[in-house]
């Protein structure tokens, strides 16, 4: 018995170490990526801008004075992008973990219950029907995408309800069905809009990007993403049990029906908020959970927080690459997420061959 307790506490200690390492990596990557962009800004100036509220330190270190443009770029453009990358990456990968567990399906991604097609329909409608000229102003697309995503997941959930229960299978299938309908709506809108003016912009919004991020969006999205992402951690043990099967879970005191409802609600909220600010970014939500699982194992108590850090770090790195890979153009971030991630994933998968499970 004592040996078991000792093994358990050793494992907990190992997890703590892993999370500390991941947190440090995320912090370092974020600071370094402040240095990456179209404009070459020396690192000393970055330090100077970050410490501008403590002038004594700057004077002591004799830091160069950044220009107005440089501090605008660092504080108003790059910093919100980095925070948005952290939020979006965290939301998508925690969403992926949750849906893969709930559906016991390695192919499930955070968009599985129609969040992405709902967001796409909302966002495209906002662009095509000129909601930008309403009171919503520049946030019209984000707000509509958020409502599209949330309403779709609620609708899918209600449709999947059979006699008071929402079985995983019907949930999955109604999600797919609603997604197909909404995709047709998006296609219809693309067909109806003026191909000379609106087509390119809509398509690029659908591809997803962090390029147009402002503090307003980041500040609004932060609680909407972080609160559910943190709360999901409290259900880690229940998700572990769910993977054994619903009957077994019931025997072990987990109520699959209630659990499903709560975690899907939390994950959908986080993912809908992410899609609202970034558009639809693929790969991260599907693959980061698998990559993290290959590294830290399938236990959700470590898998969930590690995926949050992993997804956030990955998104920050990929967004930094998209800023500088093809200047002065912004490279589509979704292309890099998959081009960079898939080889790494396949490498891990081949190394672990045989003993990989959700």
């Amino acid at each position: 018995m004592s040996e078991l307790t000792e093994r358990h506490s050793r494992r907990i200690a190992g997890w703590k170490r892993t999370l500390i390492v991941l947190a440090v990596v995320l912090t370092l990557v974020s600071i370094l990526s402040l240095n990456v962009g179209f404009s070459r800004i020396p690192f000393q100036k970055i330090v100077a801008v970050l410490l501008q509220n403590v002038p004594s330190i700057n004077q002591a270190l004799n830091m160069p004075e950044p220009s107005a443009a440089e501090s605008a770029i660092l504080l108003q453009v790059r910093l919100p992008r980095i925070f948005a990358g952290i939020l979006v990456g965290a939301a998508l990968s925690v969403g992926g973990v949750v849906f893969q567990a709930i559906f016991r399906n390695p192919m499930a991604d955070p968009y599985v219950i129609g969040v992405s097609s709902g967001a796409a329909a909302g966002g495209v409608a906002a662009i095509a029907f000129g909601f930008g000229a309403t009171i919503l102003g520049p946030f019209a697309v984000s707000v509509m995408a958020f409502f599209g995503a949330s309403l779709t997941s609620i609708l899918v959930f209600r449709l999947a309800r059979i006699g008071g229960a929402t079985p995983a299978m019907t949930l999955l299938l109604s999600g797919i069905a609603i997604s197909i309908v909404l995709s047709s709506f998006v296609t219809l809108t693309l067909f109806l809009v003026d191909p000379y003016n609106n087509l390119q912009g809509i398509i690029f919004w659908l591809i997803g990007s962090l390029a147009s991020m402002s503090w307003t969006e980041v500040i609004v999205a932060t609680p909407l993403i972080l609160v559910p992402a943190i709360l999901i951690n409290f259900f880690a043990r229940d998700l572990n049990v769910m993977l054994l099967g619903e009957e077994e879970a019931k025997h072990l005191g987990v109520e699959p029906e209630i659990l499903r409802k709560i975690v899907i609600l939390l994950a959908s909220l986080a993912v809908a908020s992410a899609v609202a600010i970034s558009g639809i970014i693929g790969f991260v939500g599907l693959m980061i959970p698998h990559i993290v699982r290959l590294i830290v194992g399938p236990d959700h108590r470590i898998l969930i927080p590690a995926s949050i850090f992993g997804g956030a770090t990955y998104m920050v790195v990929v967004d930094a690459i998209s800023r500088v890979i093809y200047p002065p153009l912004e490279f589509p971030v979704g292309v890099i997420t998959s081009l960079a991630g898939v080889p790494f994933f396949l490498y891990l998968l081949r190394r672990k061959k045989g003993n990989y499970r959700i």
């Binding site: 443009a69 108003q76 453009v77 000379y196 990007s209 402002s214 503090w215 800023r323 912004e330 589509p332």
Partner: protein, 332 residues
């Protein structure tokens, strides 16, 4: 032979003779103007034979519909795409059913096009969307001319080409030489003035700007400005907030109205440090209304050049009461 008979014969000879002579004159006159058949090379390099003066034109390009009006062949127009809306008379004729709307430029209703029995079809190209309709209509024996002007001189040669096809060369070249003069006037007025750094935006989220080879880049250059994204590796592309801040434009020209007002544009993250924002030089221009460059640039492109010149060099140009007229102020 009675006098009656002689006079009848005489009248007959005179009538037929003069008719024949008139007909001869007509033909010789027309021969002088345009010798059908002739062949032209269209904008995607196809060799197209124009067998005779077209009597029924279907235009699938808004700017081409406008050119048909410009060269004085409007009465030949029987069908247009859904975006052709200039001049106003065209819109009215479409409404009254005098001209048929055959649908989108890229995916026209081929049944409708064919039912109009066109002698010439003007189409946009080259484009992956249009390759099929062009091929299909050519296979069916229709005369298809593809238009793809990418710059001002392209517009001029399109006007001259449609003038030639419709037998209205003279009117077309008169119109073009007038446009050339107006372009030269703008160019000579800005000569020697410092180049104004200009940012052009076609879309707001994500930001889309234009590079060399685009019509907007050419207009900016001719109007005495310098496109800040003249280093773009392609004609159009997604740029970042940061790149715009770094390149610090003195004037911004927005070709969309996706935002409520220029205030929203000015309040974009970090843009308060940009010269154009500080000096309140953020302006809207409509691709469709101001440039006539809808899909492809058309005859109003020079109006657009003048409007842009006013935005870029307000110390040289000023809009006249009639929006098309540009007054020259003192250049110093």
């Amino acid at each position: 032979m009675s006098i009656k008979k002689i006079s009848l014969i005489a009248i007959t000879i005179i009538v037929f003779g003069s008719l024949a002579g008139f007909a001869y004159l007509q033909t010789s006159n027309q021969t002088k103007r345009e010798a059908y058949p002739f062949s032209i090379i269209d904008d995607i390099g196809r060799n197209v034979t124009i067998r005779e003066r077209p009597t029924r034109i279907v235009s699938l390009v808004p700017s081409a519909s406008e050119i048909v009006y410009t060269v004085g062949a409007a009465n030949l127009l029987v069908g247009v795409d859904q975006f052709s809306a200039y001049p106003d008379e065209l819109t009215q004729r479409v409404k009254s059913g005098n001209i048929t709307n055959v649908g989108s430029s890229f995916n026209p209703d081929l049944d409708k096009v064919i039912s109009l029995n066109p002698s010439i079809i003007l189409i946009n190209g080259p484009s992956q969307f249009n390759a099929k309709p062009i091929q299909r209509l050519s296979e069916l024996g229709y005369t298809v001319v593809s238009l793809n002007a990418q710059n001002i001189s392209g517009v001029f040669s399109n006007i001259e080409m449609i003038g030639k096809i419709t037998g209205n060369s003279e009117q077309a070249s008169k119109f073009v030489s007038n446009l050339r003069e107006r372009v030269a006037k703008v160019e000579s007025a800005v000569k020697g003035s410092p180049k104004v750094r200009a940012y052009i935006e076609n879309w707001n989220n994500p930001l889309f700007s234009v590079g060399p080879g685009s019509i907007q880049d050419e207009l900016i250059n001719k109007a005495g400005g310098k496109n800040i994204f003249s280093d773009l590796p392609q004609r159009s592309g997604q740029v970042s907030y940061e790149a715009v801040i770094t390149k610090n434009p003195e004037v911004m020209v927005l070709f969309h109205r996706l935002d409520n007002s220029t205030e929203i544009v000015k309040s974009r993250p970090g843009w308060n440090v940009i010269d154009a924002v500080k000096k309140d030089r953020v302006h809207y221009i409509s691709n469709e209304k101001d440039l006539g460059a809808y899909g492809a640039p058309g005859p109003r492109i020079v109006d657009g050049l003048e409007k842009i010149a006013v935005l870029i060099h307000p110390e040289i140009f000023k809009s006249g009461r009639n929006s098309n007229i540009v007054l020259l102020l003192k250049a110093n």
